[in-house]
């Protein structure tokens, strides 16, 4: 009897199932609507970015919500993942069947982002609080600058690499530019679809939700709540902090590949500090430490500017005002207390009416 089993399930399991259900229902509804031809082109163009941002928000939430460290460089991992994955995809091209090349691109993107997670994480996780935030921000900017200065080409003599300009590569005339500095990678064969996006979102959810509810996840949360207490009961701080941080980087890398393969060109300046901030906004508005909140916030806020398109110049202004108002409304202790009073009065009156009746 599935219904009664649902009732007796553990609270976390049920909550996780609801999260999965939301994603799957969203997928089905969109598929039905687009099959019926109701959805607009601009909305369909947003579907893959939504999946990518959802993955980014979930993975950043692991760092911010569960590890409790503020990261302002999440777009850096996304960028590294996107460039390595897309690069492999263009190099492999038609020589390898799609069903081999595509998973390979994702795996390489994730692994490279993970390696960068280790490189950044080892020194960075010694710091704490705002210092950690600024170093992650610096890391994101470094990645952007380095990729912007990268020139990589391929011809019959093999790969050519330079950090100054395209002419210094000394390529044969029939050679092909792979990364052209600030112009990035061009002529990408688009491969991302909404279905791939949703599958990746589900994989992200399965891995991260399981990790959070595992021994590792509890250790990570113990470190967040009290580092000294966690250390004193024998939790290896560096190991668990690094695990969470690297995992967050890996999924940002996957999201980067998904995002990169959705467009015909890829430039590093797209993954700047504003993108990191945007992901952080998803996490904070959705609720720090709430995976489901991250998903909903990322999806809604990615669509919002499109919905407000009719307002043209005013849409970013409205976005900014919404951001400030929501933060004050949700987080200010006075306003939260005031809201509770209103709710109490409202429900209290209801009870009185019941009593009278």
């Amino acid at each position: 009897m599935p219904l009664s089993r649902l009732k007796h399930m553990k609270k976390t399991t049920r909550s996780n199932l609801i999260t999965f259900a939301i994603v799957i229902v969203f997928y089905l509804v969109v598929q039905i609507l687009s099959g019926a031809g109701v959805t607009s082109r601009s909305f369909e163009g947003q579907l893959v970015p939504i999946c990518a941002y959802v993955m980014l928000a979930i993975s950043l939430n692991l760092t911010v919500g569960f590890l409790g460290e503020l990261s302002l460089g999440h777009a850096g991992f996304m960028s590294v993942g996107a460039f390595s994955g897309v690069l492999l995809w263009t190099v492999l091209g038609d020589s390898v069947p799609v069903y081999v090349a595509l998973p390979l691109a994702f795996i390489v993107g994730g692994v490279v982002a993970g390696i960068f997670g280790v490189i950044v994480g080892v020194p960075v996780l010694r710091l704490s609080g705002d210092y950690l935030a600024i170093v992650t921000l610096a890391f994101g900017e470094i990645i952007k600058n380095i990729i912007n200065a990268c020139y990589l080409g391929i011809d019959e003599n093999g790969l050519h690499f330079s950090m100054t300009d395209a002419t210094s590569l000394g390529m044969e005339p029939d050679g092909k530019m792979l990364i052209n500095g600030a112009m990035g990678i061009t002529g990408i064969q688009k491969a991302s679809t909404f279905t791939i996006g949703i599958v990746l979102v589900l994989i992200t959810l399965i891995v991260i939700l399981n990790m959070i509810n595992s021994r590792t996840g509890r250790a990570v949360m113990a470190i967040r709540d009290n580092e000294i207490a966690a250390q004193s009961v024998g939790i290896n701080l560096t190991r668990y902090k690094l695990t969470a941080f690297v995992m967050s980087a890996v999924f940002a890398g996957f999201a980067g590949v998904l995002y990169g393969l959705n467009y015909s060109s890829l430039v590093a300046s797209r993954f700047d500090y504003n993108t990191s901030i945007q992901i952080l906004v998803f996490v904070v508005l959705g609720g720090i430490g709430s995976i489901r909140g991250s998903i909903i916030a990322a999806a809604l806020l990615t669509v919002l500017p499109e919905v407000l398109r009719g307002l043209q110049d005013y849409r970013m202004l409205i976005y900014a005002i919404v951001l400030i108002v929501v933060m004050i409304f949700n987080q200010s202790p006075q306003i939260v207390a005031w809201r509770k009073r209103i709710v109490a009065r409202f429900t209290g009156k209801k009870d009185e009416k019941k009593g009278v009746a």
Partner: protein, 296 residues
């Protein structure tokens, strides 16, 4: 000679960073928040000068003062409306609000004055100062660089004196040390924080005037990158410390200019940030930051 000229323009750029970093560091020290909108206050201040001096032909010094007044009012208003309700909220909430304010200022500027860059008329040449020529013309120091460096040193000395030798300055120190205890001792905490925002914003106006005089393009995003760099400078020198902000700003400007000149223009920002990471890993609280031991 060439090296000297790069060095001087680096110090001049660094002085601007230092002025902006002061705003960050004071606000961080006292309110324990990262005011991401600080860079955008610089931008608004620069627009005020652009219109007052460039379009209406106002006296350059008067237009800087006007800009300082506007920025002060703006800074205090932002603090009152957006940050004060969140004084007791988690720091991440305040951070996001500050980001919201930053977007808001940029968007308002874009709606009012369009996204097209405007060419800023240097206020320093507006006063009538000439570049300094040394060693029979081998070394030319722009008047902007001289004014920037002198202004920065004067402001730094004045601010240090203000914090260490006046009653409101002591109140600022007390609030940054322990807000609760300061309140119990009768310090007006809200007033002190508002004062800090006022000073930081006025300095941002000065920084904007000097920055746009040396780099004369003005657009709604002008403040963003110098804002981030100055924030890095503040952390570099040890956030919360006034001499630290000065040292961090100048070092950052010099490193940036020298790496632009001798290594690579494209990679100069990467080098700046890399130096920051190295410094923080070796000395986690910045160059002049205080180390606070956590007690159980």
């Amino acid at each position: 000679m060439q090296f000297l000229s790069y060095l001087i323009s680096g110090i001049s750029l660094g002085s601007v960073y230092a002025l902006i970093a002061l705003g960050y560091t004071m606000v961080y020290g006292i309110a324990k928040m990262l005011n991401f909108a600080h860079g955008d206050i610089i931008m608004i201040g620069s627009y005020v000068i652009f219109f007052a001096f460039g379009s209406f032909g106002m006296n350059p010094i008067l237009s800087v003062i006007l800009s300082m007044v506007v920025c002060t009012i703006l800074g205090v208003t932002i603090e009152r409306v957006a940050y004060r309700p969140l004084r007791e909220a988690p720091s991440l909430a305040v951070l996001i609000t500050a980001i919201g304010v930053s977007y808001l200022l940029q968007q308002v500027a874009q709606l009012l004055w369009s996204a097209n860059p405007k060419s800023f008329q240097s206020i320093v040449t507006g006063i009538g100062l000439k570049p300094l020529v040394l060693f029979d013309g081998q070394l030319t120091i722009s008047a902007e660089a001289i004014v920037t460096i002198i202004a920065c040193v004067i402001i730094m000395v004045a601010l240090t004196a203000f914090v260490n030798h006046t009653v409101p300055g002591h109140a600022m120190l007390a609030v940054s040390e322990d807000r609760g205890a300061a309140q119990l001792m009768g310090v007006n905490v809200n007033g002190t924080i508002a004062l800090t925002f006022a000073i930081g914003s006025a300095l941002a106006a000065v920084a904007g005037a000097l920055l746009c005089s040396s780099y004369p393009t003005l657009s709604p995003t002008t403040g963003a990158m110098p804002g981030i760099k100055a924030f890095v400078a503040a952390v570099f020198g040890g956030i919360g410390s006034i001499p630290g902000a000065f040292l961090g700003g100048v070092l950052l400007g010099v490193i940036e200019n020298l790496s632009k000149a001798y290594i690579s223009t494209q990679l100069s920002d990467a080098i700046v940030f890399l130096v920051l990471i190295v410094v923080l890993v070796v000395k986690p609280t910045g160059l002049l930051g205080k180390k606070i031991n956590v007690k159980v």
